[in-house]
């Protein structure tokens, strides 16, 4: 990796002629989560990740060496912090990405895609989109990346471990009554997890019932009245990870809820709940243990 010789090109990339990074490459065709057929080189040494969860997966399957660029939010594992930063989908650093001459860019969102995938494709850089909505989607992403990066075995092994841990949790909470949970993304303004949020699936598996599971969207701004009327038995506060010290207090309308009165307010590392990666199973376990402590006594 010639990071030291990387040039930073000016923005407004011009169309270059066929500047394929390597010489004769054989490609395989894969279909990504957005239904796009992507031609991916068989051997990949240079990959850029534009999402923290994908960075974690890449390291977890042992392919960390091929990571040449990631986002400023990619902070786990610690090695990811030393990799060259190339912005993220909200603040793209297009010039840098192109200058690093990656063979593949992996993305974990379906938004704002058209804008930069086109730019990258004109540079003959393949873009692979993952869009995991739930835990199954995470396992699928791990397998996909395992295939693409030729680390199939590690991927399969990782998925196997994660599946058994998940199954253990689900078995433990099977006989319990689901706990009514309110997931508070932020207090003021009041945001929660809706139907399409990744964490809603985790809550269900952890033996909880998100009171906002039926609300449309992923992260809806929620009515204070409805939060109060929901009377949740437990409140989950994602905090301490990327969120830092924020979101550590329960929102005002929930102050008199059964959850607060019985002290069932659980602060869990937000990176374990929001990133669709291997640590999501950590989050699953933490939530399950909090919601059903008796089921894990043994």
């Amino acid at each position: 990796m010639c990071l030291g010789l990387t040039l930073v090109l000016p923005f407004g990339c011009s169309r270059r002629e066929n500047s394929t990074p390597q010489t004769s490459q054989t490609f395989r065709e894969v279909t990504d989560d957005a239904g796009r057929r992507v031609a991916v080189p068989f051997r990949i040494d240079r990959i850029i990740s534009l999402a923290p969860n994908l960075t974690e997966i890449i390291y977890a399957i042992g392919a960390g060496d091929s990571l040449v660029g990631d986002t400023s939010y990619c902070d786990y594992p610690p090695a990811a912090k030393t990799v060259e930063k190339v912005g993220d989908t909200l603040h793209p650093s297009m010039g840098k990405r192109i200058a690093l001459r990656p063979q593949l860019v992996v993305v974990s969102t379906a938004s704002q895609l058209e804008v930069f995938t086109h730019q990258l494709e004109t540079q003959n850089i393949a873009v692979f989109v993952t869009n995991p909505h739930d835990l199954e989607g995470v396992f699928r992403s791990i397998n996909q990346l395992g295939t693409i990066l030729d680390h199939d075995d590690q991927a399969r092994q990782l998925v196997g471990q994660l599946r058994s841990r998940t199954a253990a949790v689900e078995a433990a909470v099977k006989t319990t009554q689901p706990v009514r949970v309110f997931y508070q993304l932020s207090a003021e303004p009041l945001y929660t997890a809706g139907r399409d949020a990744f964490v809603t699936d985790l809550i269900r598996r952890a033996g909880g019932l998100s009171v906002t599971a039926g609300v449309s969207g992923a992260w809806p701004k929620y009515s204070a009245e409805s939060a109060l009327a929901a009377r949740p038995e437990a409140i989950i506060l994602p905090t301490g990870g990327s969120m830092g010290a924020g979101n550590a207090t329960v929102a005002e309308p929930l102050q008199r809820s059964p959850a607060v009165e019985q002290g069932k307010v659980y602060r869990i590392n937000d990176d374990h709940l929001v990133r669709p990666g291997p640590r999501a199973v950590d989050g699953l376990e933490e939530m399950a243990r909090s919601l059903h402590p008796d089921a894990f006594k043994l």
């Binding site: 701004k221 929620y222 009515s223 009245e225 409805s226 109060l228």
Partner: protein
Amino acid sequence: MTTSESSHSRASTVYFGSSNRTTLRKTFIACAVLSGALLLVVILMSLVGSERLPAGASLCALLSFGRSQCTLTSDQFDILFQIRLPRILLAAAVGGSLATAGASYQALLRNPLAEPYLLGISNGAAVGTMIALVFFGATEWSRPLLAFVGALLATLAVYRLARGRAGATPERLVLAGVIVTTFLSSVIVFVTTLMDATRIRSFTFWLLGDLSGTSKNLLPVAIAIAVVGTVVLTANARSLNLLMLGERDAFDLGVEVGRVRIVVFLVASLLVGSSVAASGSVGYVGLVVPHLARLSLGSDNRLSIPAAALGGALFVIVADTAARTLIAPRELPVGAITALIGAPLFIYLLKRT
């Protein structure tokens, strides 16, 4: 030559009552009617929300000023008095403040298009609030205070930019407003990029107007500022009537132009600052409501300023009720609703005049 060469078209405004001018009696009646309407709307909108409350019991509790629970459960009582009513009162304060500020700017700057939002004053207050959040996050008072400072600085910037040899013509004013607004918008965008994704989402929502903030301490302050501000500006209404016709005319007729200008700028900035600090930028209120007030009640500021205050309160209460019920239990930013109603309404008003 005939005595009147003017066209015999009907007056395009409706001056209720047959009088040719605004009298104390007219003002009193109009304000009484609007106040009654406001009270009615406050009560009615308290009965509406994302959670169903029994209408009869709610009405009973409201009319007892919260002293009696009237068969409401304690949750329902809390929803009514801890969440809905404070939010409605905040909406009234914000709407009244913004409409009064708009009416005063329009009179002082002789421009029917002068509005806190369009002139960039709301953005100035927003930048002030952002600075308060980032640097003085803990202190509750820092937000309205810095919002006021931001609004005042933006006002001064627009005024200085607009002042040419011939005074602040409406064209120069609008241009200055555009410059200040866009500049401050880019400042806001810049600071936003320094935030993380979660903060960005909630901040963007707030920027569009969000009345769900629950600062219990600041609500009485917001109401007090709205009331005091309206009273002070109405007290200067007679001067503003003359200033509306021209700075030179006003001066010649005895108005202390400099003093009135300072008072209006200070008080209007205070009104805008307190509104934005409480609820972000709720646009179009300061534009549409004073227009409607003048169209139906005449240009005399002694009536149109208090009428705008009451009308603005009404407007934002209704808009906010829509914002919190249309996609319940989710919420929309109230600024989006005021823009959706305000923009077409304004186009219609423009066509009429």
